[in-house]
């Protein structure tokens, strides 16, 4: 579905860039500690509410909130470190990469 939509209104370049960004996000997710990753995935990708996540993982609501905050912050840090590493090796693609999500 997402692929279909992307193919319809995005140029081949944007499609490729989006796929590359996806790979980067997955790689960044893998660097997160398990406790943060599961909360981030359940909230952002699977779309569950705080209460549902708390019930699934058997933790309280406050823990879910704090893990989500710290998980998102670490993910952002991981993506930024990744981006700066790419920028150092090659400046052009990373400018494009940054342009893609906006």
């Amino acid at each position: 579905m997402a692929d279909g939509l992307a193919a319809r209104d995005a140029s081949p370049y944007e499609c490729a860039a989006r796929a590359q960004l996806g790979e980067r996000v997955v790689a960044a997710l893998r660097t997160l500690p398990e406790a943060f990753r599961e909360v981030v995935v359940l909230r952002e990708i699977e779309g569950f509410g705080y209460e549902e996540i708390a019930e699934m993982l058997g933790v309280n609501l406050g823990t879910v909130k704090s893990r989500l905050t710290r998980g998102r912050a670490s993910l952002r840090e991981a993506l930024r470190d990744d981006a700066s590493a790419i920028r150092m090796s090659n400046s052009r693609p990373i400018e494009n990469m940054q342009a893609v999500p906006r």
């Binding site: 996806g22 998102r72 993910l75 999500p101």
Partner: protein, 238 residues
Amino acid sequence: MTWRAQKTNTSHAARGVECSGVRSGFSAYLDGAISGVEMAAISSHLKRCEECAADFNAWREVQRSLVELGPAQPPARFQARLRAALGVERERGTHLPFHRRALLLWRSSLAPLALRLSGGLAATIVLAGGLSWMFGAPIIVQANDDAMAHLVAPRYLYSEVPPDPITTRHDVPIIVEALVDSKGRVYDYTILAGPDDPDLKVRVENNLLGSIFKPATVFGVPVHGHVLMTYTGVSVRG
């Protein structure tokens, strides 16, 4: 971070404190998990503060890129395999409490064999028991079982008077049945065989009257009894 560099300015320092408070609420703000007042405060701060707005944009980019990943696709035939696995577990009764599961196991495996097993077991017990009795504890056959009743016949002990020899004209044995009381005395007698001779009868009577017997006993208690006596070698009067 430029807001850190601006800490020298007091108004900027106060703003830095506000910024850190707003930034700590970004996660909840993204999910709409805070009150309307807090959301309005963050929103108005983001309009005023470019630094925070840029930071929040970065948070939103991360969220957007995660959403674009989309949920992981389940593997092919996942639903069919899940149903099959659930069916297998249901068959095994995993969802049942322990005693119901044990009952199910009993019914499916051992119950059909139970009758045969118990029959075989009973036959084995009977056979093994019989054999062990035969070989392990042989019956000792005893010939003196009559002693159990402990019946003892009267026995002749001695004569109170000097025995008077019985003489007769016929050389035949005399058989007398004497009845002995519990004190060992003869209280009646019958001549079963012998010559019919009144003189002989007197002599036999005198002989019996002087005879002392050990009375018959039953379990050691003296009782009346009878004894057969034979007089042989009777001297024959010429």
